[in-house]
Amino acid sequence: MGSVQSRRWFLVPGVIFLLVIDMVPLVYSLGVSLYEWWLVRPRDVRFIGLGNYSALVLDPAFRRSVLVTCILTFGAVVVEFLAGLALALLFAQPFRFLRPMRAVIMMPLFVVPVVGATMWRLILHPELGVLGYYLSLLGFGNPQWLSDPTLAMIALILVDAWRTIPFMFLVIHAGLETLPAELYEAARVDGASWLQAFRYITVPLLAYIMLVAVLIRGMDIFREFDIIFVLTGGGPGTATETIQLLNYRVFGLGHMGQANAIGVITLILVALMCYLLIRAVLRTR
């Protein structure tokens, strides 16, 4: 008993370190969010309580950015999940020619996000881009990917999906590899079709892993910044201005209180999303 208690003391430095790294900045940020603090007027800092939060809730630009963030998160997660699942199911088949293609599929994951976004910005360029060139050759015209609000959102979703489908594929594929083959054999013997086997065996057994992957990607996309900044800058208009882009704009103009309030609200929204998804995950156990 005494030795167990004394072992626990060894955790203390690590816990203190984590608390300092995580909690101190968070508490500081929370504190700053209760002030009206504009860097341009350093002597006019005053406590306003929840004034920044109420201003944000009433601000149409903030509400718009929350909606844009939700649309981007939902759209990107759905595309990545479905594509990752399809690829994982395909690579679960015993075809030898698929093995070398696994490395090719993984490649976008190794591209630095800013580099990838810059590359796609060139590909989607209305005059210099290869995509527009080949689409016009095929008779589809030359869509203004980054100038049209709807197309810009679609472009963002697809570029983000391009980069992170490999992650979904990896996680789901790893999960598929652990499923016992006997279940599928038994199902085949009982006359179940491929679709029935997928619905009644694969989905229930993989639900936990799939939800974890969705949770991780959802949190990442909700806080995405670099790809959006490089590809659209939040435009056209505010069609792709997410909470992070708005926060960057507010922070850049020196409104510290407001910027920190946006950060705290982001934390709350991500925590809420995590809570709901984790509840769904735990229900599958």
Partner: protein
């Protein structure tokens, strides 16, 4: 053994000493990336050789430079000297060294007067002018002559000329400018609104955009988009240049500094075919003044060498060199009359007369601490208008409401 250790320690200390001394004569400069940076870097070795002062250049794109300078200055002067756009001077003046006393030791009379005003705020001189810039009209002389068109003097004439020269099937467009999320977009919108008599902030200190004059300017802006390249809503400063250089646009409203690369035969297919004129008028002629200046952080530990650099950057020698340098994207002119009227300068800058003519009429942006926020609000609202998120009336209402909110009205 002890003597040996002491010798080693002494040698280590001596090896660090020159670096420590060199650091005392190193300046940190906040500079604009991409535009004008090549001009500065090409001439820096000359300054460093003559003064022994090393300059560490920290460059940031235009869209990020104000943010970087604000954060740097407000948190303790990581930069000693700053290449600063004139509308930022009021907001950042809190953190800048007033230069009134020091300026008495240099020839301030040689500066174009309006460029000196660009660095002043509430009666104090905070910056020295380096690069006087103003919006000008660039047009294809050859195309105008072919069609028998006269150089437009009003926006209505410009629109008619643009329509006459607009042929998308041949990738020929009437006029190039920016109309999307780019930082230049609110400046074009403001230019047009000014031309018809509107003010961003009126004499009462309230927003003056949602007026008949403001609406007329915004309507003209939307009309010009119809005769611009299809990608105008994702254009940047560099894209406007490219549209002229590739021979795609018959006209452009561009900052004068962008005209230099348009005349570079190694970069432009229309070098020698361009004409330059005053910005068209609506009810008045009001080209926008945009002077780049040099400022010193008041908390800098290197005030004296920072002043040496500021004098050099705004001086005649750098001015003569910079006006002749073949910049890739954007020139650095010189704010000194003696340099701009030099015959060599007029040869290097074919648009020098248009530059000086427009400067005489140029209008400065509101000298307010809130101005960077106002411009950012205009940028977002203008891009929402051109993206179709807002109707014209709603956009004007939002511009006004946002400006009044920022001014606390």
């Amino acid at each position: 053994m002890l003597a040996g250790m002491m010798a080693v320690l002494a040698a280590m200390a001596l090896s660090f000493a020159p670096d420590a001394f060199a650091q005392a004569k190193t300046l940190n400069l906040s500079m604009l990336a991409g535009f004008k940076e090549d001009v500065l870097r090409a001439n820096l070795p000359d300054f460093e050789r003559r003064t022994g002062i090393k300059v560490a250049v920290d460059a940031a794109p235009l869209s990020e430079l104000y943010k970087k300078q604000l954060l740097s200055l407000s948190t303790g002067a990581r930069h000693d000297v700053l290449f600063m756009d004139e509308p930022w001077v009021p907001a950042l003046s809190e953190f800048l060294l007033p230069l009134d006393e020091r300026a008495r030791g240099i020839d301030m009379q040689d500066f174009i007067p309006t460029t000196v005003d660009a660095g002043a705020y509430q009666g104090r001189q905070y910056t020295l002018p380096v690069d006087p810039n103003v919006q000008i009209l660039v047009y294809r002389k050859d195309l105008f002559e072919q069609r028998g068109l006269k150089v437009p003097t009003t926006w209505e004439e410009l629109l008619q000329a643009a329509k006459a020269l607009h042929d998308p099937a041949k990738q020929q467009y009437g006029i190039a400018f920016t109309a999307g999320s780019d930082v230049q977009t609110p400046l074009y919108m403001t230019l047009l609104m000014w031309s018809y008599g509107a003010e961003l902030v009126d004499a009462r200190g309230r927003a003056g955009v949602n007026t008949d004059a403001g609406k007329k300017g915004a309507e003209m802006f939307l009309e010009l988009i119809k005769v611009a390249p299809p990608a105008v809503k994702s254009f940047t400063f560099a894209d406007v240049n490219k549209a002229i250089q590739l021979g795609q646009a018959a006209m452009a409203i561009q900052w004068a500094s962008g005209a230099k690369p348009m005349e570079d035969p190694t970069r432009s297919s229309v070098a020698g075919k361009l004409g330059y004129a005053l910005v068209p008028k609506g009810t008045r002629q009001a080209p926008m003044r945009g002077v780049w200046t040099v400022a010193i952080a008041k908390n800098s530990p290197n005030l004296e060498i920072a002043w040496e650099f500021a004098k050099w950057l705004s001086g005649r020698e750098f001015g003569l060199a910079s006006t002749r340098y073949p910049s890739a994207i954007s020139a650095i002119h010189c704010a000194r009359v003696s340099v701009l009227s030099d015959p060599g300068t007029k040869q290097a800058l074919p648009y020098a007369d248009a530059l000086l003519g427009n400067l005489k009429l140029a209008k400065g942006r509101p000298r307010l601490k809130e101005y960077p926020d106002i411009q950012e609000h205009m940028r977002v609202t203008a891009s929402r208008l051109t993206a179709g998120e807002l109707s014209l009336d709603a956009a004007l209402k939002e511009m006004d409401a946002g400006i009044n909110k920022l001014l606390g009205k």
